[in-house]
Amino acid sequence: MTLIPGRTSKQGTSLNAGKLKAEYLEVTSTVEMNEDDMKKMKLKDGDRVRLRSPEGEVVVTCRPKKASDLPSGIIFMAYGPSSSELMGSDTAGSGMPLSKQIEVRVEAVGAGEEG
């Protein structure tokens, strides 16, 4: 799937409180996913998923979005430490990593599997 990190209102307000605080870390560790994709993967609202890119992996909480709002194959999360963990450092000579177009594998995380 393609991960698109971006800004959200909650990310913006919580970063003002502090980037080391629980709210910011929670906001930036939640991924939005097309509801049909979630059904296919037998995921429900609040389940934990592992995102893997060639650079790294993170475990985050997933939330459903209507198929009309978020196309199949696209997942969205607020910018933060989790999305940075998955981002490559190649800038193709531009200075800019591909911060909004990160190819990831998504898999469900069973109870007791985290860590």
Binding site: S9, K10, G12, L70, G95, M96, L98, S99, K100
Partner: protein, 488 residues
């Protein structure tokens, strides 16, 4: 009256607009009109009102804030006219009790920390300066001077924001205007690859969608708003037309629009390629060619995806093409409060907007070589001066690994991952709330800050000036300077 003055007078009465509702919907409870904290019931000598203060949270730099300040508690209790992000900005920047400076995690005096910072920068073979987009122009100027003196690199968060647009400006050019011109003239407003409802809530209500203007007497009713994005964001309800492009196909869609505007034939597979129907494209082209004044606002959906500066260049080229038919401009929507100032200051000091290196004693510009992600990911830098940003949580892992290995000097208003790993960490005052100075709005309009209350911590400019002076005092006499003096 300048564009800025005009907007200050008229841009404040639109918080009940569709955009504000979209903003409220995006952040339930946050845009209810509640002020940050509760204002004291019995005002007194310790309550101060700051009229027309400036919010420096985002690039909108709204300068119509009426702040209620509790001088006893040193906090802003009400921020009239602020959006949801601005209210959080003013509410959360209070005076926190922590040391003004740390060296290796241990409390130190500011003087000791300044000396340690100067020593680190002098001893480094390749010191880098990075950040600066949440700092005043006056502080940015000193940071450039430090980079020049120690022959390192200076780069700003522009390189991971609209840096690709900066590259495109050099290659394509820019048809530009102030936001005041947009407010007063634009009847076609296109947002491409951005979500202002969540990132710049008052862009709609103060500058580009709902305000009434000189030639836009009915506000939003006189404008057509188009949103182009890969997903339906909370900005979509504000638009009259939402166009969903396939991810990674922005360049193809923009180039197709250029072809249609210029009367060229396009292939039949355009819908399959871009996800956008031919009829939708024809309708948009007709609107672009027949409007009275058009604007293309573009965001990081273009600069942070495949194509990068080619995407930005395509927007700029499309806007230039459209001037055959109507005045048409293209403007990047900038993120941080003074990232535009950083571009201006670094440009006027060095000739280039970001990613500048002084290693040879004169400025050189080369994105990919001197930009911070690259310099860190290749492990080249051996010291970093980081001002008002947090690369240790925002950068790719390889870059962060280098930051963990080298001595870092951090200036920030709050603890961050970067300040935690820093050899020297300064707690600084918040620009615009505690310190004055100059910032540039995203349309390159400079605005003077009106601080609300004093901080016990020094500002960025004060710390950087002290570091610069200490470097000048500690550095050995330059051999080449002596040779210059001896020359006939």
């Amino acid at each position: 009256m300048s564009d800025k003055d005009n907007m200050t007078d008229n841009g404040t009465n639109t918080e009940t607009s569709a955009a504000a509702k979209a903003d409220a919907k995006a952040a339930p409870g946050a845009a209810s009109g509640a002020a940050p904290g509760a204002a004291p019931k019995n005002g007194g000598d310790h309550i101060k009102i700051v009229k027309n203060a400036t919010c420096t949270f985002c690039g909108c730099v709204c300068d119509d804030m009426d702040l209620t300040v509790d001088l006893k508690e040193k906090r802003i209790t009400k921020a009239k006219n602020a959006c949801v992000l601005g209210r959080a900005w003013f509410a959360e920047h209070t005076i926190e009790d922590r040391p003004a400076a740390l060296i290796d995690g241990r409390e130190a005096s500011v003087e000791e920390a300044v000396e340690e910072a100067a020593r680190i920068l002098l001893e480094a073979r390749y010191p880098i300066t990075y950040g600066l987009s949440d700092s005043t122009c006056e502080a940015q100027r000193v940071a450039v001077a430090i980079s020049d003196i120690v022959k390192g690199s200076v780069d700003t968060t522009t390189s991971v924001c609209h840096g690709p647009s900066g590259i495109a400006f050099q290659g394509v050019g820019e048809t530009t205007s102030t936001l005041g011109e947009v407010k007063n003239r634009a009847d076609l407003v296109i947002y491409w690859g951005g979500n202002p409802a969540e990132s710049h809530p008052r862009h709609f209500t103060r500058y580009a969608v709902t305000p009434k203007g000189m030639h836009i007497p009915n506000g939003k009713k006189d404008r057509t708003v188009v949103l182009v994005d890969v997903r339906k964001t909370p900005s979509a309800p504000v638009s009259d037309i939402f166009i969903q492009v396939k991810p990674g196909r922005d360049f193809e869609l923009l180039w197709t629009l250029r072809a249609l505007v210029n009367g060229k034939k396009i292939t039949a597979d355009v819908e399959e390629l871009t996800g956008v129907a031919r009829e939708t494209l024809d309708d948009l082209v007709a609107r672009m060619k027949s409007c009275s004044y058009g604007v293309l606002f573009f965001g990081m959906g273009l600069t942070m995806t495949r194509g990068r500066h080619f995407n930005s260049g395509a927007v700029l080229a499309l806007a230039a093409d459209l001037n055959q038919y109507a005045p048409f401009v293209a403007k990047p929507v900038r993120g941080h409060g003074n990232v535009t100032g950083a571009d201006n200051v670094v440009s006027w000091q060095t000739g280039y907007p970001f990613g500048v290196n002084f290693n040879r004693g004169f400025p050189r510009f080369n994105p990919g070589e001197f930009t911070t992600v690259d310099v860190l990911a290749r492990g080249e830098a051996d010291a970093a001066l980081v001002i008002a940003t947090d690369p240790a949580s925002n950068f790719p892992k390889k870059a962060i690994e280098t930051l963990r290995r080298i001595p870092v000097i951090s200036l920030d208003t709050k603890p961050t991952e970067t300040s935690r790993l820093a050899r020297v960490a300064f707690s600084v005052a918040t620009y615009g709330i505690n310190t004055g100075g100059t910032v540039y709005r995203m349309d390159d309009v400079p605005i003077t800050l009106r601080p609300a209350f004093e901080s016990p911590y020094p500002g960025d400019e004060e710390i950087l000036t002290a570091i610069r002076d200490k470097i000048l005092a500690l550095r050995p006499p330059r051999q080449d300077a002596a040779a210059d003096r001896a020359a006939p």
